[in-house]
Subunit: 200 residues, 2 copies
Amino acid sequence: MKKINISNSAMKRLPIYLHYLNVMHDYNCKYISSTKIANDLKLGEVLVRKDLALISGKGKPKVGYLKQELKERLEEILNTSTINNAIIVGAGKLGQALQFFDGFEEIGFKIIASFDNNDDKIDNHYIYHIDHLIEFCKNNVVSVGIITVNEENAQSICDLLIANHIKKIWNFSAIQLNVPNGVKVKNENLAASLAVLSLN
Amino acid sequence: MKKINISNSAMKRLPIYLHYLNVMHDYNCKYISSTKIANDLKLGEVLVRKDLALISGKGKPKVGYLKQELKERLEEILNTSTINNAIIVGAGKLGQALQFFDGFEEIGFKIIASFDNNDDKIDNHYIYHIDHLIEFCKNNVVSVGIITVNEENAQSICDLLIANHIKKIWNFSAIQLNVPNGVKVKNENLAASLAVLSLN
């Protein structure tokens, strides 16, 4: 795969483009223009043009991009061919919501198990006891750990995931995690997102 | 309240500071410095200093901010005194996760009801039938609508919320919503967030 330099904010738009090509754009045409995508997705035209130029060149004058080619290029960058296995720690409502969220596979992520310490939640099918995490990580290639436990336990769960060679952490707890170099954390603070709506 | 100009990205950090002052910072001192906050939250020092200067002036040389004053100022800006009532449409797992998420009240949002069209989910206590939404909005001041329905229904639910005078929409569906001027939408694309972890 050709290496490209792509910003976090542009990277966040790629699944939106891919989803658009996969599902939302149901026209039967071979080509798609950045203008059409920008209009349909209500994104800025210059922005979409720049994003697509970065990942798939300039397109054909007047008609735009070959849809299939653009789709494949997006899939290649999002690395959807090699599914990234993810596990969730914390099988509360949020953890369960994420476990059954169907938008992840499209972008190359598959949630293969959840873990919790509450026996009532454990079904040994989707949700396992946290004590089985080490063994599970030995027997499965897990690249992403999703933390949906409370603040008090988030750091120790993070340490456990890292000790089990997981280098990508998606953190839904409100605390900032301490991680060594080489481990990537994406923080998801839902309260902070909602707060943006307070702005007038 | 003194009007301040604050960017979306800074606004997203305010609940983090408030939460830090409320819960995470348990020292018994009267003052707190931006350096201490930056270190504890692992945020850039310059960034925190700028944010706090914007909302609460420069602080006292050497010691920083009066904690209580800073907390009150954050609460004032986040408008936690007047609780913003929010409703959720779509009582699936994600909707339920949000309904029982406890980080929202701290920043001034209260989820007062959810709506769904699936009779099995309706308890008429937390979750009501979607047919009751109009009446509910007449009897309650609702300022935020949270959309956790599927893509096919997201736009019509959005229209329904707007018709019932809700002007702030938090959209968890993958589609971009069409809204009139004066309505604010915050899109939450979880798949796109996760995709950022694909970046090497």
